[in-house]
Subunit: 339 residues, 4 copies
Amino acid sequence: MNFSSDNATGASPEILAALAAANDGAVPSYGDDPVTARLAARFGEIFEREVAVFPVVSGTAANALALATLCPPHGAIFCHRESHIAVDECTAPEFFSGGARLVLLDGEDGKIAPATIAAALPDYRRGIHSAKPSVVSITQATEFGACYKPDEIAALAACAHANGMALHMDGARFANALAFLKCSPAELSWRAGVNVLSFGATKNGALMAEAVVFFREARDFEYRRKKAGHLISKMRFLSAQLEAYLEDGRWLKTAARANALARMLGDGLSKIAGAEIAHPIEANGVFVRLPNATVARLRQKGARFLDWAPPKDGRTLVRLVCSFATPEEDIERFLEVAS
Amino acid sequence: MNFSSDNATGASPEILAALAAANDGAVPSYGDDPVTARLAARFGEIFEREVAVFPVVSGTAANALALATLCPPHGAIFCHRESHIAVDECTAPEFFSGGARLVLLDGEDGKIAPATIAAALPDYRRGIHSAKPSVVSITQATEFGACYKPDEIAALAACAHANGMALHMDGARFANALAFLKCSPAELSWRAGVNVLSFGATKNGALMAEAVVFFREARDFEYRRKKAGHLISKMRFLSAQLEAYLEDGRWLKTAARANALARMLGDGLSKIAGAEIAHPIEANGVFVRLPNATVARLRQKGARFLDWAPPKDGRTLVRLVCSFATPEEDIERFLEVAS
Amino acid sequence: MNFSSDNATGASPEILAALAAANDGAVPSYGDDPVTARLAARFGEIFEREVAVFPVVSGTAANALALATLCPPHGAIFCHRESHIAVDECTAPEFFSGGARLVLLDGEDGKIAPATIAAALPDYRRGIHSAKPSVVSITQATEFGACYKPDEIAALAACAHANGMALHMDGARFANALAFLKCSPAELSWRAGVNVLSFGATKNGALMAEAVVFFREARDFEYRRKKAGHLISKMRFLSAQLEAYLEDGRWLKTAARANALARMLGDGLSKIAGAEIAHPIEANGVFVRLPNATVARLRQKGARFLDWAPPKDGRTLVRLVCSFATPEEDIERFLEVAS
Amino acid sequence: MNFSSDNATGASPEILAALAAANDGAVPSYGDDPVTARLAARFGEIFEREVAVFPVVSGTAANALALATLCPPHGAIFCHRESHIAVDECTAPEFFSGGARLVLLDGEDGKIAPATIAAALPDYRRGIHSAKPSVVSITQATEFGACYKPDEIAALAACAHANGMALHMDGARFANALAFLKCSPAELSWRAGVNVLSFGATKNGALMAEAVVFFREARDFEYRRKKAGHLISKMRFLSAQLEAYLEDGRWLKTAARANALARMLGDGLSKIAGAEIAHPIEANGVFVRLPNATVARLRQKGARFLDWAPPKDGRTLVRLVCSFATPEEDIERFLEVAS
């Protein structure tokens, strides 16, 4: 019963198999191999336009490299107070950008709204005394498992662009958002105004593979990736993961399964006395307040999950994450113990 | 007949198999998994002392992170003019360190000598006007396939330490050096005075795996790795490569095979009229001057290799790299065409 | 009637005269001159202990260089949400430190309290996923004109040190705080636990001169200053300002005058119907809510000052800053117009 | 007899007087004052076109800020091996640019030639493995007192621009070059293809004042200056130095005097047995090889100057720098002792 993180899960068998398939023979290194060559076309099909795609090994690398391309050293990045770039990536955005500032915004369910950005902007409109507003970064799905709809993204993009800022999307769980919203990758990204997307795969079945997808000129991104030690010499092993991930809609199926399990878990929990769902369950995470006794009992029976906040008023807000590989019986067992 | 790079080769089957073996079940992420836990002990055995080991995905990351830990932003790193950190890592050492300076030294076969360091030092002893001498970085085996012997390393370490500098070893081909010198990992590293080692595995059979090995306090290395996006969430897949690499002396066997093939290739070439071996063949690389006509004929027959310098006086200096996976018949065929 | 900033004022005549006096003859550059040599001893007397003193030309430089010495690239700096380093120095702290994070804290009158730091710390105690708590930075006097008393500083130092953090004081208005609290420089700095002080002079009579004062080892500060372009070649002209500033207690007299004028201005305003003093007047700044009509009338009569926030409920919070050179009649005239 | 550096000299009386004149009354800070407002127009007249001018306090700041604007973090800056940015500014160019690489070139008298750049470029044309050629930086007059003629600059600019690089000029002694070449500031800068000029004043009579002059869009230079702590609050005191420096052609007169004194010194030395002038004397520096006994005698009589290299074959290469303020009798006395 491991609901601690979608990172706790291994890789999908098909992606593992793709590594073996890619292993044959000698091929040029640093991305000049046939697998990587196919990748740009594959992403082009999926996003229904020409894109520039750069595989990397971690979400932090994807985000920080993308942000550094969009944000000057003296720039400000507007993001949610509890976004991954704000609380889980040490100081990677600052490091890669050469010292940019994160401006932390509030918002329900991990989402930020154009009005919040507009309210924060005047403090950054005093000339060179404060950082220059340069990027809005949103997370899809959010840290609290909510999904931005295309029109919400479009409104944020309009706000960002009107203020000379680019729109970055941290799509570590982009597939989960697609599976929930049932719209196309294009609708959820560039058509809504996203400039650069951190396209996640690791949490949804890869071993270690993400991609930075540019919908505008990628400028010197390749140099930045190399300079950061993120250009892999045997690149085929990174690209093969992404290729297998996208093959036959696998990425959407695994995401849909993870979402469905979270839904099932949430539905079950919502019927338990004393339990309170804290955020809408739209992706693969469930945030629920449980009585402290229930929390203790679950842990004693071997369940693993995160306390999101210290106990309060007899209850604890916990985070439960499902993945493509979570056994269905784990859900049943968890609900059984929790009841 | 691909002799272009040891990066052009795939992974060894055993390392691929180890990935599958590590895939079972859910385990804590970011390095709190059992495979990673075993790794420190394993490296401890191999180096005959307690060490701090940090897996990363690329040699550039290993080098730049190690150097940044040893060198302040205003420091100088003394290295060979043609070392990997100087010519093949974009500006990673400068980026990770916050702007340190590389001091480029000459030396036969890619080696630097204490006397060369001593001669360069006075320019960096004028107080704060020049960068502060902080690190000596050497490459084992060198870019030209030569190996530093333990006493050569000890002399460099003595010079470095006497001048307040640390000794870093870029061991992208550390296994090849061990296989050639037939000494122990300890003799070739900390016993000779090395402070931090970039321990390579990718060129010798891993998919993407290197390790930074500290023989002194690792200070905040973990923060630096995270901040650079090099802490992998599903760490088990990185650690499993290193574990399989070290298992049953596999790493030394594959390195020995690569070295032997290079030796065989060099021996054959040395008998060919007009060919001239340019550097001692101690590891898995062969540097040879060949008549331009021979170079053209080889390429026409499908051989892949690097021109190390533009043609001169009717000949070209080329680099031929063998790997653990190079087919023996490729050597024979190459020699046949070259003759 | 210029109350816009203490930076709007020129220099004191004695400091200007000191520049001319320092101009005689040729002397060694980069700080090896006799004026600079005297400075360390002078600061030593004033602080009643040996200190390391480094003159620089701006408060931003003083703060950012000091913080970079205390904080690693992956560190967190805890400071008030409206402190100068947070809102008025673009992204200098991030730049100089190599990407550290500012943690913004609330607090009355621009002061932060140990309890606020303690409450923020758990978010930065999750290992390498968040920045490492490294520095507490306080401002003396605060942006709102309040002064930390020695025991308040001592409590903050105790909290910082107990948590492995250093205590930095931005003393851009250190003299004003001393003049108000009537304690010694030592009591207000190292005796209370301050590790490094940004010692201001520009706002209180210098042309452009601040000093970074270390009460602990200064490590490689000199390199950092040089690397940042802040080592002045004709250093005597920087040191001479500081020497004249400190001579005969001039710095305390000018600060006392500025404070007294602010006091007078505040007293007068507090008697005006509809005016409300927003923060205790302890240094040289007055924060007051004035009816919008009053604000408009004052501006029309030529008064210059800052709107601190947009108008609200018919009134505007404005900031009025007095300096050593503010004419007393400006106060009277301002009060007359405001009444 | 102080010939150690033009930094050893004080400021010219007129520039000191300008500080006092600028001291009157309260004016807006951070560059919104009347003196600074006049500066752009003044530079515009002098350079015969609209320019963007940014005063700073040191040559290192001017150079590093200019280079950071022209060079991405992954860029390469081509410069002379003994240029100030290479040997006298610690690692400021690397720091400000976010880790760019200096490519050190040889050249007579401190000058670099297009052919040398062309010869170095292929090593930086291997894609993302090496730094991206971004800037050519030249020094006018050079560290060895030689001056680039307009056609030499034009040839360098053509080479730089043809290769996608900008041309930066470190004009710490720009006035000395103008005085020697007797051409206009425009001819020696933008008309010859210079993109950004570090315009020096400190060595030629200012206390601490340089300016970065942009002949192309200045992009976010203002942010970079602020972020680096180089935006002075009481900016009038920086701008006033530059204004007085340029007034009535003062800068060219003082430079011409320094040059003439160096010429006189060189002429005298060239007649002394055993003395050998090492570089053409075009600006205010004299490089001469003197018998060691002569060197010792001069020092004993109180002469101050730099040994440029360790003694060799009984002679020492020394540097003698004249300034606008060097007394003529010092030249005579020096020659007398040296004879």
